[in-house]
Amino acid sequence: MRIIVGEGSCGIAAGAHKVYESLEAAGITPQITGCVGMCFLEPIVDIYSDGGELMRRLVKVKPDDAATIAEAEKTGDLSLLDSITISDEDAAFLSKQTRIALRNCGVIDPTDINAYTANGGYIALRKVLGMTPEEVIEEIKISGLAGRGGAGFPTWFKWNAARQSVSDTKYLICNADEGDPGAFMDRAVIESDPHNLIEGMLIGAYSIGASEAVVYVRAEYPLAIVRLQEAIAQAEKAGYLGKNILGSDFSCKMRIKAGAGAFVCGEETALIESLEGKRGMPRLKPPFPAQRGYNDEPSNINNVETFANVAWIINNGGKAFAAMGTENSKGTKVFALTGKIRRGGLVEVPMGMTIKDIIYDIGGGIRGGRECKAVQLGGPSGGCIPSDKFDTLIDYKELAATGAIMGSGGMVVMDDTTCMVGMAKFFLDFTAKESCGKCVHCRIGTKRLLEILDRITKGNGLQGDIDLLTELCEAVKDGALCGLGQTAPNPVLSTIRYFRDEYEAHINEKRCPTGECADLVTYSIDADKCRGCTLCAKKCPVNAISGSVKTPHVIDSEKCIKCGQCAAVCRFDAVIKR
């Protein structure tokens, strides 16, 4: 029996490593794996048979459970673990997915190259070295693989453009600066299956003729950086990286560059500036990176998930990949399903699935039995899709038609307590902070959009503000220099499109329909329900609640700072929020 602890970042954050240590203390020699994507069940411990079959998946494991696990291992009586074994319902989270990019995540030990090769790793690289670069690009073309970073540009086209550029030095760059605040697919791939990324990148480097590859990783991903560093060292040692790879003429070295905290560096020309050690301000295009990129040499940039599909495509053929999905969108897509969802985590589904399938069949619907209102796709560059459009297919074109975008994979579910104006404000706050400050439309435009949204949520919205927002949004889309600015207005435009009534309620009636905007809410106590337990009065940070024991209490609205703590502590549902 093998005991495997899921040690991805969020598993560790949930206490996986403490579980690991207590297992060791209990006399077990556990192994680790990466993230299987079931974040809502972390920490997860898997028990495999010696033959490699998953016998039990233990969830929400606590260090205290170690003794029981040790006992079960010793006795072979796995029924001891029934109480912490995954339910059939939760197991459906995985069974309804199709995993290509994440195929090894949470399955193999990411720190061990042998685990990767034992699972079919580096076979694709061997195969590719026997093909011409043009043949490889052709295979990618057949697969229909498109950039998974958000824009959805055909991968073969970029590779081919870089291939065609004549130069002695070319660079292959992996964009792992996953910045969408609500997406963590790329981190999971690097942490859980770093060799898959390395292999995909090597195939790309071979195709375009690059002898140097760089992975630009977010600084906020320390574990990913460590695992990738280890993996690169192992790959070098095993001859997959470096001079004359696997005895061929192909040589390629690889290094990591840690970002330093700037969302705009997800924009490829800003990423290049940053790689060169400069402020991450986007460059004008043209020239495109394929013509003149990093160090003014032809460069090709793809995102982690894109590369994570490449080895599979080579192994299984472009046709197999293209067989999945829709006419416009092939293969699978990974989403980070979060927000007010029951089962949140990483989800990889074939293109062409509906949003409803993902939210309800995989995610198990809304947490707390509330009503689903909308889902935000593509983070600050994307838009929301209201629940009545949940039949929309996961397809670049179909999603774009709704005003949202496929994006890099952030999928945030919102219920009826989420204020959509507040949501737009949240994203604009993000883009305004992350704007590099170079072009006027983005630097000042996002700031002004944020200010207008802010005044609306504070009850100071003016007549005409919706039109002003729309006008400003259109100009920012048209005028901004890079993708960050050009897409920054999307969350505003799409919430206006689908939830105009919420904007109007804020502006005309000075009312937030969801009660989320603190400035527009008043708290009061229902005298019929209040038992005078004094809990709220004790909790109130500003002493705004008065009343004696066993008599109904009263909130002084002048003093109230609308923190909502009274409502949170009341056991009788007596605090009314309006």
């Binding site: 910045g179 963590f184 330093a260 700037a262």
Partner: protein, 164 residues
């Protein structure tokens, strides 16, 4: 020699190894700054001037880079750096209330350090622990599924630990 008349007096020799390692390596300014920050805990002005001179660029260039990226700090931080996640999932699940509670409890705002030098609060972009939202990370340790009370509890435990 530092040309600026700043009050700092950093031990510049601590950086020698880093500067040697990256001597002549094009485009390594960000990496050097990261390593300098590891050494000094932040980026003192005299260190930035020193780096500019060592790698043959202008202070304006170095400072431009140092102030562009959120990772770099121009002031010393507290013993505990509270990185409060401001990602979408954390936002949807109430990170704003956590921030209010922490600010109120410590009497500091985002980017500030408590007068006893114990805590620095920093709002950060998504930490990628969305399913544990709302989340904060303090000196590498992640604390998830926070409530205002539990967040303050964490801080108080750290304070006790530090006093012990």
């Amino acid at each position: 020699m530092c040309h600026c008349k700043c009050n700092e007096n950093s031990d510049l020799s601590a950086l020698d190894g880093v500067l040697k390692e990256y001597a002549g390596v094009k485009g390594s300014l960000i990496t050097i700054l990261q390593k300098a920050q590891d050494i000094y805990g932040y980026l003192p002005t005299d260190v930035m001037y020193h780096i500019a001179e060592a790698i043959g660029t202008t202070p304006a260039e170095v400072i431009g880079v140092a102030t562009f990226y959120t990772q770099f700090r121009l002031k010393p931080v507290g013993k505990y750096l509270i990185m409060l996640c401001q990602g979408t999932a954390c936002h949807v699940n109430g990170s704003e209330r956590i921030e209010t509670a922490i600010c109120e409890h410590l009497g500091i705002k985002d980017g500030e350090t408590t007068s006893d030098g114990l805590f620095t609060l920093k709002n950060v972009a998504c930490l990628g622990c969305c399913s544990l939202s709302p989340v904060m990370m303090i000196n590498g340790e992640t604390y998830g599924s926070l409530t205002p009370d539990s967040a303050i509890g964490v801080l108080e435990n750290l304070r006790k630990e530090s006093n012990a």
